[in-house]
């Protein structure tokens, strides 16, 4: 059984990096003055000689990472999702993406669950931005165990990878004894035939609670966890579209350009079915406690249960 202790995926990321670095001396870590927040400080303490703070200059950090990668290093460059993918978008595109360099970019404090810091720091566009870059793998792990494996998979993939990290401590729902991460493969968490819910990242566990609660109310929903936004698992989506006839996507991200639209692209070209996108609807977040915001945006278990139920009926 999974542990009940809550842990933020940013911390899982920092721990996984340390573990991976033991065997791979070519791994180096860069941060832009946010090591305490992105949790690269865990790595920094363990490997001070392999950690390079770039100061508050995300564009330069991405360029430095590109240079390191061109010389055989495997740099993990971390900052808040807003700055790593937003401010430094063009550096990621031109210095890392275009030459397909082996740089791993970690964006922490993604989504509205950043909480009190408010809209300027609540990046709900990172998945959309990174999806547009040719050759970029985009990962959005949902809990501690998934993040641990995702970091390893990112290392093993030879090319640019974006990994989304969350600030909020969350429960782990995956079973570490049986969990298997396969890049580009979705995971069916619950079988069902009435509708398929496809979720990603921090809200997967909320969706899991919601579909389980709906079962007792007569709605038999399938739940798929998509940890790899790009390349997306087309097969699992097409199969779900064919077998359940409609899809609901759930993400803590803008409904523009993220998981929802990635799923729409697959269904519309292969098996057109109705897709309803649940997420942040073309608006900014605002300050407040993370859990309160998730509830307000309808992304907690109760909100999702209500919304899914109303869509199905």
């Amino acid at each position: 059984m999974a542990e009940t202790k809550k842990i933020a995926t940013r911390e899982s990321f920092g721990l996984a990096l340390c573990e991976l670095a033991k065997e791979h001396p070519e791994i180096v870590v860069l941060d832009a003055d946010l090591a305490a927040a992105t949790k690269t400080e865990i790595f920094k303490k363990a490997y001070p000689d392999r950690f390079f703070d770039c100061g508050i200059s995300e564009g330069n950090m991405i360029g430095v990472a590109a240079g390191l990668a061109s010389c055989g290093k495997v740099p993990f460059a971390a900052s808040f999702a807003m700055f790593a993918t937003g401010r430094a978008y063009e550096q990621v595109r031109n210095s890392v993406g275009y030459p397909h360099l082996n740089v791993k970019i970690a964006g922490s404090h993604a989504g509205i669950s950043v909480g009190e810091d408010g809209a300027t720091h609540q990046c709900c566009e990172d998945l959309a931005l990174m999806r547009t870059i040719p050759g970029m793998v985009v990962l959005n792990p949902a809990d501690h165990y998934e993040m641990t494996e995702a970091v390893k998979a990112a290392y093993e993939y030879n090319g640019p990878v974006y990994i989304r990290l969350g600030r909020l401590a969350i429960e782990s729902f995956n079973d570490p004894d049986t969990y298997k991460f396969e890049l580009g493969k979705g995971i069916t968490l619950k079988e069902g035939s009435d509708v398929t819910v496809i979720a990603t990242g921090l809200v997967v566990n909320e969706a899991l609670k919601a579909v389980n609660a709906l079962e007792s109310k007569g709605i038999n929903a399938r739940l798929i966890n998509i940890h790899t936004i790009k390349p997306i698992d087309k097969d699992i989506i097409i199969k779900a579209a064919k077998e359940t006839g409609s899809i609901i996507t759930v993400e803590e991200h803008s409904i523009i350009g993220g998981l929802g639209e990635a799923v729409c692209a697959v269904t519309s070209e292969n098996c057109p079915v109705k897709v309803t996108r649940i997420g942040v609807e073309d608006t900014y977040g605002h300050s407040g406690p993370a859990l309160g915001l998730l509830a307000e945006f309808g992304l907690d278990a109760q909100g999702l249960e209500k919304r899914i139920s109303s869509i199905v009926k």
């Binding site: 360029g63 430095v64 590109a66």
Partner: protein
């Protein structure tokens, strides 16, 4: 530099210029002005300064060159072709569909190009990463980054300058091709880059001012840069945009325009005459 060596260098620089103009003419587009101002320095780097071997363009211990002012790649391609990284014939298809030589440097497609570049301000950061990698590996290769003067208006240049200084990247040598002109006019009119040397100095660089067309000065500066310890070096090279083709010299209009057939003929005649004089 001995006379014979200087003569060879001047001939090579002249050939690099001919290649640059040939490429831009056949592409019917590109950036001749800055390519010609950078040609002497790029030639010196590839034919004297850098430890590189065209038969092993990916050798781990080679010196690296990042053309941060990537639009001036016609000069880089000229030098690489002349050095033997790829056939000189490739120059003619610069910017053509399916060609190896892209409008801005592409490290994946072109042997000898150490970093893709073209978006101004980004190459110097990559150069910092390469220099840091050398430090990390205790390797003794050096990294050269060439920037345009106008490029120094990009904030990222100064982020990188802070980084290079903070990490004491004395294996990094930044060279600014200071030709004084950018697309919209003279750099002093457009955004003002007065005292660029003092700017780099205050960012912790060893700074050397030279005439970027005088090989003796180029050599002295690069030799000195190799002796500097504990900080990076910036060479501010005063150059002439369009150098070597009379009607292009100091003309901002030749920043990003290809010569027509008549103009090309004049350029070839002038450069051929220069080469002939050197060979005499």
């Amino acid at each position: 530099m001995e006379n014979q060596e200087l003569l060879e260098m001047q001939k090579n620089a002249c050939k690099v210029r001919m290649h640059a103009i040939e490429g831009v003419f056949n592409a019917k587009s590109g950036h001749p002005g800055g390519s010609l101002s950078a040609a002497d320095i790029i030639t010196y780097l590839y034919f004297k300064e850098m430890n590189v071997d065209p038969s092993q363009p990916k050798a781990a211990d080679r010196d690296r060159f990042v053309l941060s002012k990537g639009h001036c790649c016609p000069a880089l391609y000229g030098a690489l072709a002349l050095k033997g990284y790829f056939p000189e014939e490739e120059i003619k298809s610069l910017r053509h569909i399916g060609a190896m030589l892209q409008g801005h440097p592409d490290m994946k497609g072109t042997p000898g190009v150490d970093m893709s570049s073209g978006s101004l301000g980004q190459g110097i950061s990559a150069a910092c990463g390469m220099a840091l990698a050398a430090k990390y590996d205790n390797a003794d290769y050096r990294v050269y980054a060439m920037l345009g003067d106008g490029e120094c208006e990009e904030g990222q240049v100064w982020e990188a300058a802070m980084f290079a200084s903070h990490y004491k990247l004395d294996n990094l040598c930044v060279i600014v091709d200071f030709n004084g002109l950018q697309i919209d006019g003279s750099v002093s009119d457009v955004a003002g880059l007065d005292d660029l040397d003092k700017k780099f100095e205050s960012f912790g660089f060893e700074v050397i001012n030279i005439d970027g067309h005088d090989f003796a000065q180029i050599e002295t500066a690069l030799n000195k840069a190799r002796t500097v310890k504990g900080k990076p070096t910036a060479i501010i090279a005063k150059t002439v945009k369009g150098k070597g083709v009379s009607y292009m010299e100091n003309q901002v209009g030749w920043h990003g325009k290809a010569p027509n057939a008549d103009e090309y003929k004049i350029a070839v005649e002038e450069l051929s005459a220069q080469l002939k004089a050197l060979e005499a």
